[in-house]
């Protein structure tokens, strides 16, 4: 029960900071699943932190989606990074 309350509080704090709900819930669930220690107090383990730095095609797709969704990018430039080569 305490864990559910913690999760909800974390999601709420992220939402209030401006993170969208899908990201907020995904991040909190991911931390709970992968942390392996005191999730409320300790940083992520060092080996996990190192592995997360690796960059894949999936990360690029995620970044592309984030660019498209960003309110800082005017509509006319949403597709800029999908430019074809010429």
């Amino acid at each position: 029960m305490a864990k559910v309350a913690w999760s909800e509080a974390q999601v709420q704090a992220l939402l209030e900071a401006g993170v969208d709900r899908v990201d907020a819930e995904r991040i909190v669930t991911w931390v709970e699943k992968n942390h392996g220690g005191d999730v409320e107090r300790d940083p992520l383990p060092e080996d996990l932190t190192d592995r997360m730095a690796e960059v894949s095609e999936a990360d690029a797709l995620d970044a592309a989606a984030d660019w498209m969704a960003s309110p800082a990018i005017p509509n006319r430039y949403k597709r800029l990074l999908h430019a074809r080569k010429a």
């Binding site: 931390v31 107090r41 690029a60 660019w67 074809r84």
Partner: protein, 223 residues
Amino acid sequence: MDFLPGYWFDLRTHRYHVRLLNGRQQFVARAEVMRLLEAHVNAKQDLLTGITQQAIDGRLSPSVWQATMQQELKRLYLQNRALGAGGWDRLTQQDFGHIGGRLQSEYRHLRNMAQQIANGEVSEAQALNRLRMYLGNARREYWLAEREHRRPSAPGKAIIERRRLGIADHCDDCVRYNQMGWQAQGMLPPPTVNSECGGNCRCSLDAKEIDAADVAAWIGTKR
């Protein structure tokens, strides 16, 4: 060449182009690309400031703060690199490797900071100062990608670069780089690197292609 409506990137001029709905084609001004870079980094700064504030106030656990920061920095590194390279299609496994190496270092710093937040050892001012440094490093990806992906279009051609001071207070280092005028590609550090202002740097780097035979005549000039 025939393209679907939308953007394309000219490898020769290193410029984005767009076909408008009326069929006209035009290039995207470099100033517009710079505005996009700034607007996007500033928006991320607002987001990360809010997340960090929640962590300092004790409402967000250090682990969740760390995971969120890592995700947002990785996105920003990739987006800035794609913007500088000419789009997602231009990114290679080598680009991913470069970003991964730099992120590994940043993530270790973030982990230390998460521990310091847990211990109550970081003030708000210190946290925001570090945040600016992380964002400055992410901004640097644009300049690095632009340089690494821009090669002379033909034998006998060469790329030269010069530092352009941004709208900000300038540190002595940036002024010195600006005074060096045009230099061969790679001679000047990208904005945010090797300068006192670091992540706060708002300078840019102009680049142009010239005949290789003319390089000596351009070096050091400000024309």
